[in-house]
Subunit: 360 residues, 2 copies
């Protein structure tokens, strides 16, 4: 492991950043000033795609929020409360959800008019603290899963120091707060294969893709939750495992891969959620032709989406442009399961080895 | 364990039923007859709610499909192919999905015009064979999860005879083909608590509900997949564990519980998917009042749904009728997370013990 990212070190840093935020406000008050905060602007005019970082980043524009300004008092108070709440969560190693945050505020007589308002304050807090909300224990509802030879050491309460291998349960283990905060101990694997759908994830386990290709298997379950995107980032960074992403052959599948690779505009204030070296390894538009896959017509919505992606800075690369063009030419899409047309194991016996060779 | 349902015995029975289906056709042909099949009708006129079985069942009407009838040849051939395919799956212990079935047919030049047509043939096969499609290894995409002190013994290939405890991974283990086909070895738990949402599932694990209430925790993830409904049935039947279901306090949450308890009309041809003794243990409409929970207005769609449920034979019981009335009176709904209004642990420290006592 080259870039060992210590989970406990990171947790300490998160707590420290939250404490510093509070200390800054106290300092301002001791100097007799109304407390204020400056943070990078997340307005659309300040979001840029960076070819160096290979993801969206924020520009130099900053916003200043001051408790002196009557229009700022409300969001400022909400932000300070959110920082307090996040600090308590992280300190006590308890997790919650965006929904919980919204309701918890009521216990403190901090008013949020609706869920979007409290979500937006949590995003502000991410920007101020410089960490994703998952790092201060606000987790999404959605769960992905993992299977394969990776030994992890849990850090969550009651499991501290316990080591388990992720191959013990052939249905896979959920990727939740415990797995994402675990330290990596060892693995014998050579790559990560991330799969869009549950059926194929199970197929891959049954056909022993983990052994035949020496791979860790990740089930995305559609658009990957942020916790899973960060987890894939860690597998790539800490364990130096190449990452292959298999999705349906349509603009939505493509974009599932892209968000893992290059992230999204609304996470421009965050790092460590993207895996720029991950590869979208199918189903490509060219696969639909080359493998003569059963396919469906692209809908007008699919086609509109393809034209959007064609102009998206994340899709500048040759592979993407070529595949988008091909989709638009053949006007067809195909699901991962379409390979079953050649028998259930064809995708593992034929397609997968050919594809891994092709993108290597 | 009183009613030990041996998984391997059941698998044998499924294979036998599929073989018998084929043997019957051969027998008919040897007698010089066009092969035919008779099966219970699944038309709406033949579906009844049975207060004895406490679920929907099929009546006495039967349909006959004969290869002699030109209009029957197509579905008859499709059904025979599906039986062959299911037999191969079950025999080789491979799993697939409804999607796979649709595409796999093309490898045999058996035409399905679309996904609904092949789904419907698989339902026919369930009716003929008397087992759910999961029993002949056609699984849904969706996955639930489980956590708690239950030791299981896997029967899937490569894991035969291996025993694992489901408390080793604090994010939970996915309920897929491997878990659902595992034998139960032992448990120290006294009940099953099934939870609608991922955030609360994690909260319950963090707050050690599994220890404090000696419970197995199941994450439903919304409407429970059929494989999970059968799994809950087994936990209740084989391990004699009472089952409590916690959902959001709205008609949709209620119905998540009801489908686990009494099943659905379109599974009237199946048994072993329902757990009639399971309890919906909240969030009730009366809880919204009694605990003064933060709530939202019922939408017109919610209200329409409540009036439908009020007339539904599964909702005959006092609790259901009372709660439906209450919802309609207060015109409010509340989410499970609404308890966070009293602090994150309130739901575990106060609400859960009070509720379990109340419904006991």
């Amino acid at each position: 492991m080259k870039t060992k990212i210590s989970v406990s070190e990171k947790k300490k840093e998160v707590l420290e950043n939250l404490r510093n935020f509070g200390a800054r406000l106290y300092g301002q008050m001791e100097e007799g000033a109304f407390p204020w905060i400056k943070m990078p602007s997340r307005s659309i005019q300040n979001i840029f795609y960076s070819p160096e970082v290979r993801q969206y980043i924020l520009g130099d524009k900053a916003v200043r929020r001051s408790s002196r300004n009557i229009r700022h008092i409300r969001p400022f108070t909400q932000l300070v409360w959110a920082a307090y709440f996040a600090y308590e969560l992280a300190k006590n190693r308890k997790t919650s959800t965006l929904r919980d945050v919204y309701y918890s505020a009521q216990a403190f007589d901090v008013a949020f008019k609706d869920q979007p308002e409290s979500n937006s304050i949590i995003t502000d807090l991410e920007t101020v603290v410089g960490f994703a909300r998952e790092d201060f224990n606000v987790f999404p509802e959605e769960r992905s899963a993992i299977f394969g030879d990776l030994t992890i050491e849990y850090t969550v309460r009651g499991y501290e120091g316990r080591q388990y291998n992720l191959m013990s349960h052939p249905d896979g283990v959920m990727i939740g707060p415990a797995i994402t905060s675990a330290e990596f101990v060892k693995t014998s694997t050579d790559m990560v294969i991330a799969i869009e759908k549950g059926g194929l994830f199970t197929r891959f386990i049954e056909e022993e893709v983990h052994k035949k290709f020496n791979a860790l298997l990740v089930l995305l379950g559609g658009q990957a939750p942020r916790a899973s995107r960060h987890f894939i980032y860690r597998l790539n960074k800490e364990l130096e495992l190449p990452v292959h992403i298999f999705t349906d052959g349509d603009p939505w599948g493509m974009h599932i891969a892209m968000v893992i690779i290059s992230g999204s505009a609304n996470a421009a204030h965050l790092r460590d959620l993207t895996t720029p070296d991950a590869r979208w390894s199918g189903v490509w538009a060219t696969d639909i032709v080359d493998y003569r896959l059963p396919s469906d017509e692209l809908t007008p919505v699919d086609i509109k989406r393809l034209y959007e992606l064609q102009k998206d800075p994340r899709y500048k690369g040759d592979l993407w442009q070529k595949e988008i063009k091909k989709f638009l030419k053949i006007r067809k899409k195909a699901e991962q399961e379409a390979f079953s047309r050649y028998g259930l194991t064809y995708i593992v016996d034929k397609y997968l080895p050919e594809k891994l060779k092709e993108v290597a």
